[in-house]
Subunit: 207 residues, 4 copies
DNA sequence: GATGAATGAGATTTCATTCAT
DNA sequence: TATGAATGAAATCTCATTCAT
């Protein structure tokens, strides 16, 4: 269909996105291995050759998808609060946003993150990207906690690194459970509870 | 109708276990899809036919593995504390045991649990078994928290169901992160931190 | 179960028959290739080893079954009429008996005969046995027709060999159609019609 | 959606035919079950994938083969005589053509028809196609016989349906015997004999 | 002898990738 | 450049047959 003598950069980006979108839909619904290139061809309404023109292999497509997925997320978190907020407020806002991201969106996004997680130990670039995001998020959280301790908001006997890790694990676990559990539970209630627990658990006693 | 099994029940159990062990090793190392029946044949030192005599398909073998995996776990948790322990002590012991189970053992077990989790939405019996374990663990934790509230140990404004879910998610997330992250971090330190957070977060103020 | 110190000849015959019966049931229902030895084991309520004790291979079992099948049939035909019957009467009785054998019995027997027929070109002993029965039946019929011609009952311009072949083909075709057609048709009506056609077709004109 | 087939419809038809031809050759020579897809691959000089691109399974290939086989046959019969021919002439021409089709061609075609017949009770579409052809042929013959009776050519006491069935069975049986019997016999002589028998058996007596 | 667990060659089918057009 | 037919290695699974007990 395209008649453009030289395919514009923008057009190429659009096609690339179309492929990634198709892959995301299918990988999250059926998993990486149960999705065939033929299905991606069909879903994207492109041709085999076209897809291989943009990605050299199925794995490369998968890796590119992870890249796209992770790009936004941390920036998103950082933009949710003002530097002048108290540490407690910051954490509460983060919890709020993280929950919304997890529970508020479809299970699709959580499912595909799981795909990346399982694939990680077996696909080098997936592993390193996961590690990178993991470390960044961890540092991000630990810094806030450290800040809270320094400001006297949080208890002195809290280890910022460990506490950050706990928060991170809770978020990851929530995403995991939300994506893989079919039981009905009022997941939305959780945000408040987490905020409360975090607050009480971390807060320096008012005494 | 067969008049007498030519081999003892015990022998068959042993062979079955040998197969499950081989599958567990490989599935946790390479993942379900990247493990071929041929490899399981080789690892188990049996023959194709033998394996298919015990399990009708690769999927059934996977499901049986999950069954075996989950059998012990909850019982194990329950046996770690005495009924007369305080709710706080119970939770602390549970955290201790759960951590030991996750971090103390090899990543192998966590990896394979992840395999089950990812497979869950796509394999019926895996899903239902996961759901069952999930609900049982949730009820188990919620009951302890409820008990703590009733006894005045824990704060009244905590919702036992949500709090239990948070604990569960934390455990699941920890297992996930531990299994998929190659970063070095002093994971063992975490147990204490979690115990502390839990305690402070849940405890009724001494006032 | 058998306690006999020496397994009697009769016992062995019974077991052999049990196996053949099981094989016949399954081969006629599901075909030779779609029947596994395991199924024959199950149907016969014997063991693998037992069956291989009586038949060295699946093919040998198949051949033995054909043998048993064909044993009775021609003798049966011959016993249906008296030597002093007219040729016409003989043929009519044969038609009657043949029809009863085909339509009167279940499709099972016809189906298994078909199995033998398809297998014939590929299994030597099945072929030679089929040929033998074919020739014998052909000679048998041709002799009666020849007798009828000689006695002046049948027209002189009939070629006994060809006519016998036609009769034989009709019988075989009827068996084939009966076994493989699911359409409802009053098959029983056919016997009279065939008798009439045979009579009129072969009979010397009364002139 | 595909903008333009890269190969012509005709090309695809040719490849399809090549596969069917290879399958026909092998199925008729070795039977459906004794022919492996590998052999069809070799015979067709294509690849596994190519064949599965045209037929989704071995069974589907078999069914497609039957379809192709049956397509022409009845039309062929109908075109052999003129509407103004007498019923007797029509039947004689049919017999002639049928014989030529059966005996004149190689046993290959008959063998593969037998394959279809045996498979019929076990493969739904094969059964229904066989039934359809069977019914059509039967009606076709019965109509001619009925016409002959109405015109006074044939005897009134003949039941057209039964007589047609007998003719059909004879043809089917002849095909069966021809395909499966290795005995030498002057099969070509049969046509005349059948024509004669049919004539005499059906014809109204000149009285 | 009888048993049925074990064997392993071989069958069918899938699917990431290539490349002629 | 874009297309999708073709490739073929590799996966899962079957089953006639053997043989240790």
């Amino acid at each position: 269909m395209p008649m453009s003598p030289k395919v514009s950069q923008q057009y190429k980006q659009e096609v690339r996105d179309k492929i990634l979108e198709a892959a995301e839909t299918l990988f999250s619904k059926k998993g990486y291995y149960d999705t065939s290139m033929d299905e991606i061809v069909e879903e994207s309404r492109l041709s085999k050759g076209a897809i291989y023109g943009y990605f050299r292999s199925k794995e490369e497509l998968f890796v590119a998808l992870q890249e796209r997925q992770l790009e936004a997320s941390l920036e998103q978190l950082k933009s949710t609060f003002a530097p002048e907020d108290s540490a407690r407020t910051k954490l509460e806002k983060i919890v709020e946003v993280a929950f919304t991201a997890i529970i508020g969106t479809s299970k699709k996004a959580c499912r595909i993150n799981l795909e990346f997680d399982v694939a990680a130990p077996r696909i080098r670039p997936v592993q390193s990207r996961r590690d990178k995001r993991f470390r960044a998020t961890h540092v991000f959280l630990a810094d806030i906690i450290r800040e809270g301790i320094n400001k006297g908001e949080f208890r002195r006997d809290v280890d910022p690194d460990s506490a950050a890790m706990v928060l991170l694990a809770t978020a990851d676990g929530l995403s995991l459970d939300w994506a893989t559990t079919t039981l009905d539970f009022d997941w939305k209630l959780l945000a408040d509870q987490v905020k409360k627990l975090v607050a009480e658990g971390l807060l320096a006693s008012p005494a």
